[in-house]
């Protein structure tokens, strides 16, 4: 069963279109949502949650259509937007209001996250660092037994230790197999650590949405001399030329096994970077 099914989600702006975005997250798994800045990650998340009005497409969360059961569905979601809010209010005052909206609010779980993240509830939001603000948003999102967590760049602004801790928290949440997590990021090392599935978006269109291993398997990084470039140039997603030759990204099925060109496995960063290159073939 899938906790989130997005089908043909479309949203048009002047100069940008979120174009028929589709992906799904099975119950109990973590999906990383990657793409460069401006690729459409936040727009997708906001459109699928009805924070912005979508033009077309459907979103099913925990088996229910969000347009028909919006409030019921949202009560079972933990959403971390990455935006700041109520900077001059104390954390305890915000929490006091926030928890009223969730019947399954668990104060013990909330307190445990506040302790784990070293958050002082008598502080004001503006007194927290960017990373601490993010941790507070995450503590709120995790404390009402949500079955789907949607987070927009939750690890941005966090130091490496805090990021690692947070990723461990994500893994412990999905361990029981009931909760799914969708989180957008451009820090691909986070995904190496904990993502099961990856959805890659570019210019408002989904390039890939599959398991992390499948994604890496679908591409190969090729290194060759300048002379070796012309024959495979048209098969490359993009390439970079250097003094010794070139490095490019190619789909695995297009690799010529008889060629002497060096072939290697790309990282998620490589896939993102080569898709973003200007010299797209």
């Amino acid at each position: 069963m899938n906790n989130l099914v997005v089908k043909d989600l479309t949203k048009k702006y002047d100069g940008f279109t979120l174009d028929r975005v589709s992906f799904e997250i099975p119950k109990g798994y973590i999906m990383g949502f990657i793409g460069e800045n401006g690729a459409g990650k936040t727009t997708t998340i906001k459109a699928l949650l009805n924070v912005i009005t979508k033009d077309s497409g459907s979103v099913e969360i925990l088996g229910k259509n969000i347009d028909e059961h919006e409030i019921e569905v949202k009560k079972n979601i933990g959403y971390v937007s990455g935006d700041s809010f109520y900077p001059k209010s104390k954390l305890k005052d915000i929490t006091k209001v926030y928890k009223r909206f969730f019947s399954k609010w668990d104060d013990e779980v909330y307190q445990s996250y506040m302790k784990r993240f070293n958050l002082d509830s008598s502080k004001k939001v503006c007194e927290l660092s960017k990373g601490m603000k993010m941790k507070y948003s995450i503590a709120l999102a995790l404390s009402h037994q949500a079955e789907l967590l949607i987070m927009d760049e939750p690890t941005s602004g966090l130091d490496p230790v805090a990021r690692d801790n947070l990723l461990e928290v994500f893994q412990s949440i999905v361990e029981e197999g009931l909760v799914s997590i969708l989180f957008s990021t451009h820090i691909t090392s986070d995904l190496d650590k904990c993502a099961d599935y990856i959805t890659f978006i570019k210019n408002g269109s989904i390039i890939e949405s599959c398991s992390k291993d499948d994604l890496v398997d679908r591409y190969r990084l090729v290194n060759g001399t300048k002379e070796q470039l012309p024959p495979i140039k048209n098969n490359l997603i993009s390439y970079k030329e250097n003094a010794f030759g070139f490095t490019g990204l190619i789909k695995t099925e297009l690799v010529d096994v008889n060629s002497s060109i060096a072939v290697g496995q790309p990282s998620l960063d490589d896939i993102m970077i080569y898709y973003s290159e200007n010299e797209v073939k």
Binding site: V51, E70, I71, V73, F102, A141
Partner: protein, 211 residues
């Protein structure tokens, strides 16, 4: 809805705006004055600073995290403002009774009487229908809607205050018998309720249209 209203009154609206009805209400103790101005301070102070506060507090970001419908966000904000307007009316009634006890009921302009509070309630409703539907076209740009509401309520206030001074029959209607005054109050309340229903509907419609 109850939770959203609780959020509006406890988190979104600064406590200063609950003290303001007492502060501006004290203006009622100025003798022989245009007392509708007392309520206009609400439009000039509160209705500029409360929407500015929503922006400064990044209220929209917080709302996005909550399991609520867009319609409810609009309704809760309008209800919260109506509650504030109610507080202004309550303090004006209390200070108005004391005023009349001290100075007597006669005023060169509109007396402080039952009909006066009907006209004040209707003025709030007129402001609300001028302000909210336009404001909720963006849910952040409040300048022009406030100007519209202020201009319309200034004209509204002028018409009633001037008429009472200028025309004797208007004094009879608004400052005549108890029955006359009660009729004005009831009619004003009924019209205010109708205007508020339209305010809600138009505001929700405009807010849901925001892309």
């Amino acid at each position: 809805m109850r939770n959203l209203l609780y959020k509006e009154l406890n988190l979104s609206i600064h406590p200063f705006f609950y003290i303001l009805p007492i502060l501006v209400g004290l203006l009622i103790f100025i003798p022989m004055w245009i007392y509708l101005i007392v309520f206009m301070y609400f439009f000039w102070f509160s209705m500029v600073n409360i929407p500015a506060g929503y922006i400064a507090k990044e209220d929209n970001s917080f709302n996005a995290m909550l399991p609520v419908a867009k319609k409810e966000i609009v309704q809760s904000k309008i209800y919260a403002i109506i509650i504030l307007q109610g507080i202004h009316i309550i303090f004006a009634i209390i200070f108005g009774i004391i005023h009349n006890y001290i100075y007597g009921t006669y005023n060169f302009f509109f007396d402080i009487n039952i009909a006066f509070f009907g006209i004040a309630i209707l003025m709030f409703a007129v402001f609300n229908i001028s302000f909210f539907p336009w404001y909720f076209k963006t849910a952040y740009s409040y300048g022009k809607p406030v100007i519209l509401g202020v201009v319309i309520t200034l004209v509204y206030g002028f018409v009633f205050e001037f008429d009472v001074v200028r025309f004797e029959f208007m004094r009879t209607i608004f400052e005549g018998t108890f029955l006359n005054q009660m009729i004005v109050l009831v009619v004003a309340i009924v019209v205010s309720v109708v205007l508020t229903i339209f305010t809600m509907k138009l505001s929700v419609q405009n807010f849901e249209r925001i892309k």
